[in-house]
């Protein structure tokens, strides 16, 4: 295959991947963010404590996450047809990609939101803030650097999943690598696709890390978290002096 033959194939594949990953990331963030926050809020000892709801959401998330993507894609075919009117092509691939990514992102959101210092929640409660205020003004902004890192991880995972979308005729870089590179022995084309994927993923990771870090280091100082821990470690020490003496 010559470059002039490969070039249109590759540019179409790049566009397809971008389209699928872009839309499914957007849906995953829109769906996974509230789900992840709910997982934290409904947990024992939190603002909206509700053991039943927490267990149900947790189980749904676990079941969806435990399913291999290729099987999820097949299992969701009826649903996909109902949403998009078709089971093949890019649009059809977006549905299982998004549904696979929502619980994945939700778990990452859950971890990120749990990291937010409970004292901040308490402070806003003491000011008279309600749960929605706490979500909007404390949990999301304070977890933002981690949330951005989580989004990066989700995008990278979705690029991986999207290779399998070729099985429903959705195209994309992974599809090219399998159909042309592997099945038609176009080794050169396969390596080019792999190279493009590597570059794309590196760029996304770099951009994500950069965004997360610049938010985290706001104020020009890195590592506020270890500093807080140092202060906390001091407390029992000073309180115990009386007993020692």
């Amino acid at each position: 295959m010559t470059w002039s033959e490969m070039q249109p194939l590759l540019s179409q594949a790049c566009w397809d991947t971008l389209y699928m990953v872009g839309w499914s990331t957007l849906i995953a963030v829109v769906g996974g963010l509230p789900l992840g926050i709910l997982l934290v809020l409904t947990d024992r000892g939190h603002l909206l404590q509700n053991v039943v709801a927490n267990k149900v959401i947790g189980q749904v998330v676990n079941i969806t996450r435990s399913m291999p993507f290729i099987i999820l894609m097949v299992a969701l075919m009826t649903f996909t047809r109902w949403i998009t009117g078709t089971t093949i092509g890019r649009e059809a691939a977006i549905v299982p990609l998004a549904i696979g990514a929502i619980p994945f992102f939700a778990r990452l959101v859950e971890t990120a939101v749990r990291e937010v210092d409970g004292g901040l929640v308490e402070a806003v409660q003491a000011m008279g803030g309600n749960t929605w205020t706490i979500v909007r003004k404390v949990l999301v902004p304070e977890a933002l650097p981690s949330l951005i890192a989580s989004t990066t991880t989700t995008i990278v995972a979705l690029i991986g999943y999207s290779a399998m979308a070729g099985t429903v005729g959705a195209g994309g870089l992974g599809d090219i690598a399998i159909r042309y590179g592997y099945q038609r022995f176009e080794t050169e084309l396969m390596w080019i696709t792999v190279g493009i994927l590597a570059v794309v993923i590196s760029l996304i990771q770099f951009a994500g890390d950069f965004a997360a870090r610049s938010l985290y280091n706001r104020g020009g100082r890195s590592g506020r978290a270890p500093k807080l821990r140092l202060l906390k470690a001091k407390e029992p020490a000073s309180a115990d002096i009386g007993k020692v003496a």
Binding site: A126, G128, E235, K243
Partner: protein, 350 residues
């Protein structure tokens, strides 16, 4: 201004799991308007539970809390979520925390504006108020900084400015100076005192540092195992014989030289502090008095002296001179009977 009656908090009382822990055991607290009230006690005495029950961050198991005449426990509702009325009541109570609890994602000014955002004030009004308060706490030039760029003392000043944003009449301070060094502690306490005077702010603070009570409190209470064991204005406490808090606030050291000696703690307040009582005592009864320890200090804005003296002979031999000292209007504690108590108090002050 703040009154609690029979306030009780038992953790694990919902019978879910784990054993029950009684953090507060029928606490009756009365904080008058415009005073600085200190609750002191060791870790685990229930101080934190107490202050968190005042604005119902913790739901008391029993008892009532009222702030500025409003019964907060009646507003609480049943679930863990705070209803509208309770949230409104909370917005009228400022709170500062040991670890400052500033939002790292917001600038200093935006942190101070947060309570006003919650109250739905306009942007213009918010920034005017925030800058005014930052000026009051001496941080007008750091409005655009992020909390990570500030020192501990500056962070606590922002915490105080934030707590005052909604013009509360009451300020709760949860170990506000415990994470700060002694120098910064002094300046923060000074600030609290100034705010108390300038704004007529009622301050309830909890601490494990006796110095905090000593430097700014009008009244104090000592907490042990979830109960208030002593309370009153600082001068009342100092005038109470055998008061642990008074001894801890104002300790004097010194041991008796031998078994047939009587050791007496003499506390002077106000007028009595200027009388030459010791030399009068020595001359009148012709006895030799050794001074084991003495100190003069200002406690709660009150000039107080305390002296530990040793008289020859047993207590029985010294009934008359001790009676003389009492007649002079001095507060006399004979050491020995309450040795255990003083030792305890000494421990608390360290």
């Amino acid at each position: 201004m703040i009154t609690t009656t029979g306030l009780t908090k038992i953790y694990g009382a919902d019978g879910s799991r784990g054993r029950e822990i009684t953090a507060l055991d029928g606490v009756d607290l009365h904080v008058r308007e415009g005073e600085v009230y200190g609750v002191i006690g060791q870790s685990g005495a229930g101080k934190s539970s107490l202050i968190r029950c005042i604005n119902l961050l913790e739901r008391p198991t029993a008892g009532t809390v009222s702030v500025a005449g409003q019964d907060l426990t009646a507003l609480a509702g049943r679930g863990p979520r705070a209803g509208k009325e309770l949230r409104q009541a909370r917005s009228r109570i400022g709170m500062v925390f040991q670890h400052f609890n500033l939002l790292s994602s917001r600038t200093v000014q935006d942190n101070v504006e947060l309570p006003l955002e919650i109250l739905g004030r306009s942007g213009k009004e918010r920034s005017r108020k925030a800058l005014e308060l930052l000026d009051l706490v001496g941080l007008a030039d750091r409005a655009g900084a992020y909390p990570a760029q500030l020192s501990g003392g500056q962070k606590q000043r922002v915490g105080i400015a934030r707590a005052l944003a909604a013009d509360p009449k009451v300020l709760l301070s949860d170990e506000a100076t415990s994470a700060l060094d002694p120098e910064t502690t002094r300046s923060i306490l000074q600030l609290l005192r100034d705010l108390n005077r300038q704004l007529g702010l009622t301050v309830l603070l909890i601490t494990h540092e006796m110095d905090v009570v000593k430097s700014i409190c009008d009244s104090a209470a000592l907490m042990e195992k979830g109960r208030i064991v002593e309370s009153g204005t600082v001068s009342e406490l100092l005038a109470t014989p055998g008061s642990e808090l008074a001894a801890a606030l104002f300790p004097v050291g010194g041991e008796a030289a031998g078994p047939d000696r009587t050791v007496v703690d003499v506390t002077f307040q106000g007028e009595a502090a200027t009388q030459p009582v010791i030399s009068q005592l020595s001359r009148t009864y012709n006895i030799d008095i050794s001074i084991l320890g003495a100190a003069i200090d200002t406690v709660g804005g009150l000039q107080v002296g305390r002296m530990r003296i040793e008289l020859p002979g047993r207590y029985e031999d010294n009934v008359v001179p001790i009676g003389f000292l009492r007649e002079q209007g001095l507060q006399i504690d004979v050491v020995g009977a309450s040795d255990a108590k003083t030792a305890l108090a000494k421990e608390a002050v360290k």
